[in-house]
């Protein structure tokens, strides 16, 4: 955090200097003319009007509760917060600054929090090159709620308790370099210190703990070994892309760590983030009357390349394909198929101690998304459902959003987790099934 704050401070200082640079002129002029207080005020006012800093944001209240008891969580509420988000944006000839920060009171954690979502500067040193430095949200890939080659941090807790969609993504403290040429576009993202997902750690939502062999929550909050060494625990993600005949084609690479603490160190009894490299491809374009996508990746689990280590996930092949079509006026239907396959399955099976529950070689899932816009698009009904035939579990996410005016909006929805088995991907969250609602005023 310390490092991030120093980076943040540098950007703040540059931001302030650019402002002061201009005010300096105003003050100098004031000094030379009469020392009239009124005139100074007028000039400052005029300056503020002239000030090309864009200032926006929203204020929001949001709450959510479990629809059933959870023996591992003391609170019924999953969400209860008031949040103020402020955006500050300033664009100069040579740079664009952006600060977006959330100030919130979290009733579930009973505390206040400041969450800087973006503090960055964008430079264009050459016509073909762009640099984005600082805290930023990063996304790429073709999936809808499923990310394969996008190994930037996500916030599953936020997503599963019903915060607004934008909170599905957690920020990265990174440098993004982009190169644009006729033949190829290249993005390289360097994160000097690993940014993990904001994973489900038991504090707010219960989960299946494989070491305990049961569901757990506040009684077994995950505190993984930290990956916080600057430059040693760094991540690099890159993407090469271009459009060919209307199809967007991408190649991806990633060198870093599993984003969740999926490794377990039996000596210290703690979870950790094992090393991971990933290589992938994706394509997106028009298919029939809609948009078709296909994406795959090879996850090379660097610390378990033989597949024998029980405490570290095997290497995997991940595959996703999707299709979306506007089925009727203002009504869109999207479907996806997802497959996750263990590479060294026999090595995994051979080393599994007797009596341990064996994972399947393949995990696969289907998703369905329906979106209907009504009342001049001010009312949006949506449903996202993910069903896994291999895990025999599902996640259903209905949502209704109503834009009351240009400033006020209200939203309500639910996260429904279904599954017989405690250890399956969505089955483990079944005690977290929740409903939520929120009101937002934007300015």
């Amino acid at each position: 955090m310390k490092g991030f704050f120093s980076g943040t401070i540098v950007i703040f200082v540059i931001f302030l200097l650019t402002l002061i640079g201009n005010t300096g002129i105003v003050i100098a002029q004031v000094d030379e003319s009469e020392f009239s207080r009124e005139k100074t005020l007028e000039k400052v006012k005029a300056y503020l009007v002239e000030l090309p800093v864009e200032f926006h944001g929203f204020f929001e209240a949001r709450g959510g509760i479990r629809t059933q008891e959870d023996p591992h969580e003391s609170k019924t509420a999953t969400l209860g917060e008031t949040r103020l988000q402020l955006h500050l944006f300033k664009s100069l000839d040579w740079v664009k600054f952006r600060i977006k920060s959330d100030f919130l009171y979290d009733g579930v954690e009973e505390g206040t929090d400041v969450d800087f979502r973006e503090v960055n500067a964008v430079f264009t040193p050459f016509g073909f090159m762009e640099l984005k430095v600082g805290r930023q949200i990063l996304t790429w890939g073709t999936g809808d709620n499923i990310f394969i080659n996008d190994l930037f941090p996500k916030d599953f807790t936020s997503f599963f308790i019903g915060r607004e969609d934008e909170y599905m993504k957690a920020p990265s403290d990174a440098v993004k370099m982009s190169f644009y040429t006729q033949a190829l576009n290249i993005n390289v993202v360097y994160t000097p210190k690993f940014d993990s997902d904001r994973f489900i750690d038991g504090k707010r939502l219960s989960y299946f703990n494989p070491q305990l062999g049961r569901l757990a929550g506040e009684d077994a909050v995950i505190h993984p070994e930290k990956r916080d060494e600057w430059f040693d625990d760094s991540e690099v993600a890159y993407r090469l892309y271009r459009d060919i005949r209307g199809y967007n084609l991408c190649l991806y690479g990633y060198h870093g760590f599993w984003k969740n603490p999926v490794g377990f160190d039996p000596h210290v009894g703690k979870g950790f983030f094992p090393r991971l490299s990933a290589y992938g491809v994706s394509a997106r374009g028009n298919v029939l009357q809609g948009i078709g996508t296909v994406e795959m990746a090879y996850y090379d689990s660097m610390e378990d390349q033989s597949g024998k280590d029980l405490f570290i996930p095997n290497s995997q092949l991940r595959f996703l394909t999707g299709y979306e079509q506007e089925a009727a006026k203002d009504f869109t239907v999207g479907v996806q198929y997802y497959l996750e396959q263990m590479i060294d399955y026999s090595a995994y099976r051979d080393n599994l101690p007797l009596g341990n529950q064996s994972a399947d070689r393949c995990r696969h899932a289907f998703t369905l998304r329906l979106t209907k816009l009504l009342m001049y698009q001010s009312l949006r009904l949506s449903l996202f459902a993910m069903y896994s035939p291999s895990d025999q579990d599902a996640w259903v996410r209905p949502n209704v959003q109503y834009k009351i005016t240009d400033y006020w909006s209200a939203e309500t929805g639910a996260n429904i987790f279904l599954g017989e088995k405690d250890y399956s991907f969505f089955g483990q969250f079944k005690n977290n099934t929740n409903v939520y609602a929120g009101v937002r005023w934007s300015f």
């Binding site: 926006h56 762009e130 948009i291 506007e326 816009l373 001049y376």
Partner: protein
């Protein structure tokens, strides 16, 4: 002698028979309405007004560039200023004359580009009474156009053209009044399947906008205020172009993912 008689006969033919056809009127109208200049940069304010008078505002910067001949491919880049929840969003359209458009939306809060399935061009543009087709044009060959008559609308001589969609859509016919001088649509009436008048378009203010075409200064008549009213719901949308510039020299590479993510200030502000 016979030859002279033929010429005399031809000269006596009613002028009507040599006049323009409905399809030609619509073609010229699309050229004047949707394709003026090589490119265009505009600031647009849309007021969405409900039956009860409740207003919603959409303010956007729109960049358009023509590729190829009139009636051909066009690219649009749109940046939203208002309302607050869509501020900073960018939207890009590649429009093709005879197939579905490609559309992309960039959501800055998620840094996410979504390619939008766009098979229904009748869907509403940003919740207004205008459909995508109303904004960017409908394939001329998708309708049968008939020149019904010529008449005065206000003080303007106009062609009245009926356009009947060949495939069934949400209206069965459109009657357009097209200015004979500028070829801009002055008024359009849309009739639904019950043959009831359901939507009415009106060009409320037309101005001549200067634009350089090569070395030549040209005046381009432009609808700077238009409205679309839905008679069944009572909802209407007023669109005002607060500024319009033609032939500004937009480069091709503006219409790409790079600028969706990082909008080009010099063109949108």
């Amino acid at each position: 002698m016979k030859r002279y008689l033929v010429i005399l006969f031809l000269l006596l033919l009613p002028i009507k028979a040599m006049a323009i056809t409905g399809e030609e009127v619509i073609k010229k109208s699309q050229a004047a309405f949707l394709y003026p200049g090589k490119d265009c940069k505009a600031r647009v304010v849309m007021k969405l007004i409900s039956k009860e008078g409740k207003e919603r505002i959409r303010e956007l910067a729109m960049l358009r560039k023509n590729f190829g001949e009139i009636g051909g491919e066009q690219k649009y880049f749109i940046y939203f200023f208002q309302p607050a929840d869509v501020r900073n969003m960018t939207f890009m359209v590649y429009k093709y004359p005879s197939k579905n458009s490609d559309r992309w939306l960039y959501l800055p809060a998620l840094d996410m580009i979504r390619q939008i399935a766009a098979s229904d061009a009748r869907s509403s543009f940003v919740g207004s009474d205008f459909s995508y087709e109303d904004v960017s044009g409908r394939n001329i060959a998708a309708d049968t156009h008939t020149l019904l008559r010529e008449e005065k609308l206000g003080d303007k001589n106009s062609y009245v053209v009926e356009s009947v969609p060949k495939e069934p859509i949400d209206y069965i016919k459109k009657i357009s009044w097209i200015d004979q001088a500028t070829f801009l649509p002055l008024k359009e009436e849309y009739y639904d399947v019950q043959n009831d008048l359901v939507r009415v378009f009106a060009a409320e203010k037309i101005e001549e906008i200067s634009g350089m075409e090569g070395q030549e200064q040209k005046k381009i008549p432009t609808i700077i205020r238009r409205t679309m009213k839905n008679l069944k719901t009572g909802h209407r949308t007023d669109v005002t172009y607060t500024s319009v510039f033609y032939n500004v020299g937009l480069k091709n590479d503006i219409f790409a993912e790079r600028y969706l993510r990082n909008p080009p200030d010099e063109w949108i502000k």
